[in-house]
Symmetry: D2
Subunit: 142 residues, 4 copies
Amino acid sequence: MSTPSPTTETFSWPVRVYWEDTDAGGIVFYANYLKFFERSRTEWLRVRGISQQTLKEATGGMFVVGEAQLRFLKSARLDDELLVTTSLLDAGRASMTIHQQALLSTPAGTLLLCEATIRAGWVDASTLKPARIPPHILNTLL
Amino acid sequence: MSTPSPTTETFSWPVRVYWEDTDAGGIVFYANYLKFFERSRTEWLRVRGISQQTLKEATGGMFVVGEAQLRFLKSARLDDELLVTTSLLDAGRASMTIHQQALLSTPAGTLLLCEATIRAGWVDASTLKPARIPPHILNTLL
Amino acid sequence: MSTPSPTTETFSWPVRVYWEDTDAGGIVFYANYLKFFERSRTEWLRVRGISQQTLKEATGGMFVVGEAQLRFLKSARLDDELLVTTSLLDAGRASMTIHQQALLSTPAGTLLLCEATIRAGWVDASTLKPARIPPHILNTLL
Amino acid sequence: MSTPSPTTETFSWPVRVYWEDTDAGGIVFYANYLKFFERSRTEWLRVRGISQQTLKEATGGMFVVGEAQLRFLKSARLDDELLVTTSLLDAGRASMTIHQQALLSTPAGTLLLCEATIRAGWVDASTLKPARIPPHILNTLL
């Protein structure tokens, strides 16, 4: 996973770590970073005027994740406040590729906790078959 | 929450505690007992021949929980294997009331970890409005 | 669950509904309201200067929920933004009782989605045995 | 993610899809495959006589995931019963690499739903610093 060159500015969303996110190892359970990344992607869409619930009702389609590459570098703990970034790497007719990071500010500087490259494809919500991203959505992303 | 007198025999379903279920306190996160109870109710329906996915497609309806009373007595930990029981207390035209326990076998005997009384109502899956439980479902429960 | 008379003002915390919170019924999965309530209780403690991670390290103790009574009245959906309230009903030497609501603002007014009365006891974090709430914590709550 | 040549036989663990696993898209939420994979890895260790709770208490160490590559090919739905496989690709002094699949049997044959390559490193449970896998654990894996 080489460092990507985002084609757009980076969006940041704060995520607080609660009891629900941690496990008996005292750290955030690894699957929960995918929740944090999803929240940041959703808010990144929202600031572009895209509500996924409305989108699904209007177009009958939705984004689903097709591939994810994850690196877990440091562990977040209860009460940590993370910044979770989203930046678009690429968008085509049927899918987009996104780079995401979970960051923790500390007195010693910003730590990279977890990093992901995610490809999300557009599908028909009832058949789950791949489909073209509606053009007005694609234009909004780019 | 006095001890109920179940009107039917008690159904038991084993549930293993995994990392995902625990929190940084080293114990099962309190909300996750509601997941365990739901699994046991689902399997209790399944042995009666009721698949909720099929049911929703066939009748357009589903059960949703309307009330839950929970007592958390002892804590489960990673790797514990629980027995999660379901027994019907009462079923009417629009809802059923169920008693559930999460139990842990130990060398010193069986520990009651968590106990719930749950009322689940039948709703139309698209409007979420209360509706009558289909008679063939109600007959299967009783 | 009669309407309680909170002894303190009501604290509110916004909670956005993401994909992770919903289930195949199209609504928030019932266990997840317990996550939302826990987030609001945690933030209610935080505005009183109490960080649970710091507290556990400093005192060796933590709050665990002993009882919860829940009413699920209306269903939240993807993208809804809820207000989740916390108000203290009572606090004693070993436990506190809290009233919580999940509310949704709509053009037609505020809807009560889910309501809980929760008793949380103080325990020694290593033995999980009940213990007295440290006086400076109890004073902060009252 | 090319097809790996597992150095050991493949372990399979059944996983039932419950309401808790699904989202409002009607399918299993993408992060939850990481839960399913973790369950299968845990049971794969258990059949080798390794309980992670006991291991942590005895050695002060635990496995944490450092990297994951995921492909999501088909979607699981409520009530589906999956087989989730684990096979060791490689194990070194400080980490192991595992290949995992979530499979669904259908009348038309077995569908591959999700596939992962996961590297888990051994860490000191209190400092979270990388450490050598205890030799008796490494021997058990190989």
